[in-house]
């Protein structure tokens, strides 16, 4: 694909996502797409590796079921032949808790015949997880000995 054809395909994909046009979005995914979001599946069940269009769409369905997309805008796009990289800003609200998750996404795309065939996405997954859980994560290193609860309490009055 030429750089301009790739740019047009990416812009259409982004527009379909922003408009919530799922049919147009699905049409832009290649049947054999390799898709990867680097984030913990224990907190974001739609993360990890997905192979094939149906697996990717199933994953996106989980996103839509779990979160309401408030804002999605592309801050930077680089296109080179059949590949593209972008930085996007994303804000979503967790439907079950109302927690707001704001994140920046670095995406890398490869298109074939106008369809997305490779995608991988990087986010600050630690910060995103903390936002989704609504609390700070425990970052004590493994070597730190655990302190018994009784040692953290003041002595009882005699």
């Amino acid at each position: 694909m030429t750089t301009e054809a790739t740019r047009a395909a990416l812009e259409d994909l982004v527009d379909a996502f922003q408009c919530g046009d799922h049919e147009r979005l699905a049409a832009r995914y290649h049947d054999d797409i390799d898709w990867l979001l680097y984030a913990p599946m224990s907190i974001f069940p739609f993360a990890g590796v997905r192979r094939g269009k149906s697996a990717v769409l199933a994953s996106l369905l989980i996103v839509y079921q779990s979160y309401r997309i408030e804002r999605y805008s592309v801050a930077l796009t680089l296109v080179d032949g059949d590949r593209a990289a972008s930085i996007s800003e994303f804000q979503m609200v967790q439907r079950s808790t109302g927690q707001i998750v704001t994140l920046q996404m670095a995406s890398f795309h490869r298109f074939e015949d106008g369809k997305l065939i490779e995608y991988r996405c990087f986010i600050d997954s630690f910060d995103s997880a903390s936002q989704a859980l609504g609390r700070d994560l425990d970052v004590a290193p493994a070597s730190t000995p655990s302190i018994p609860v009784w040692m953290t309490k003041p002595p009882r009055d005699s």
């Binding site: 913990p40 920046q104 890398f108 970052v139």
Partner: protein, 140 residues
């Protein structure tokens, strides 16, 4: 092609210098007022957060060198257009104090003007990297 974008040659040279720990060559390729952002928590990653100015960036790089040894740094993908170039690298480092090996992929977007990097934005799967650094699973 990527190689024709003005940013490409500079960014490739930066990465080559970084891989060889040639910080003097690297410093010459950064603008004095470079804006550097790594989207990762500063409390866990010495590279995390924002830095402004070449001095702050290289102080941070020195700090990384004190705490980690770079074992492997391979570029997997480069996409360049105009004054920007994005690079995905496969990185393996060893935490000097514990001997823990941390393997991760990083994505870096560099903006180049007059042959020097003026802005950097880096991304990493920081949750996974944090677990490797801490040496344990982070329970949600």
């Amino acid at each position: 092609m990527s190689a024709h974008a003005p940013a490409y040659a500079t960014v490739m040279e930066v990465h080559d210098a970084f891989r060889r720990s040639d910080y003097f060559r690297m410093a010459a390729l950064y603008a004095r007022d470079v804006e550097w952002t790594m989207h990762a928590p500063e409390s866990i990653f010495p590279v995390g957060g924002r830095r402004r100015g070449k001095g702050a960036v290289f102080l941070m790089l020195l700090n990384i060198g004190l705490h980690y040894r770079f074992d492997r740094y391979e570029i997997e993908d480069v996409i360049a257009e105009g004054d920007w170039a994005a690079v995905v690298a496969d990185v393996t480092i060893t935490q000097r104090s514990t001997g823990r090996i941390i393997r991760c992929r990083t994505a870096g977007f560099n903006q180049v003007r007059d042959g020097k990097v003026v802005a950097y934005r880096g991304f990493i799967d920081s949750f996974d990297a944090a677990e490797q650094i801490l040496g344990r699973t982070i329970v949600p």
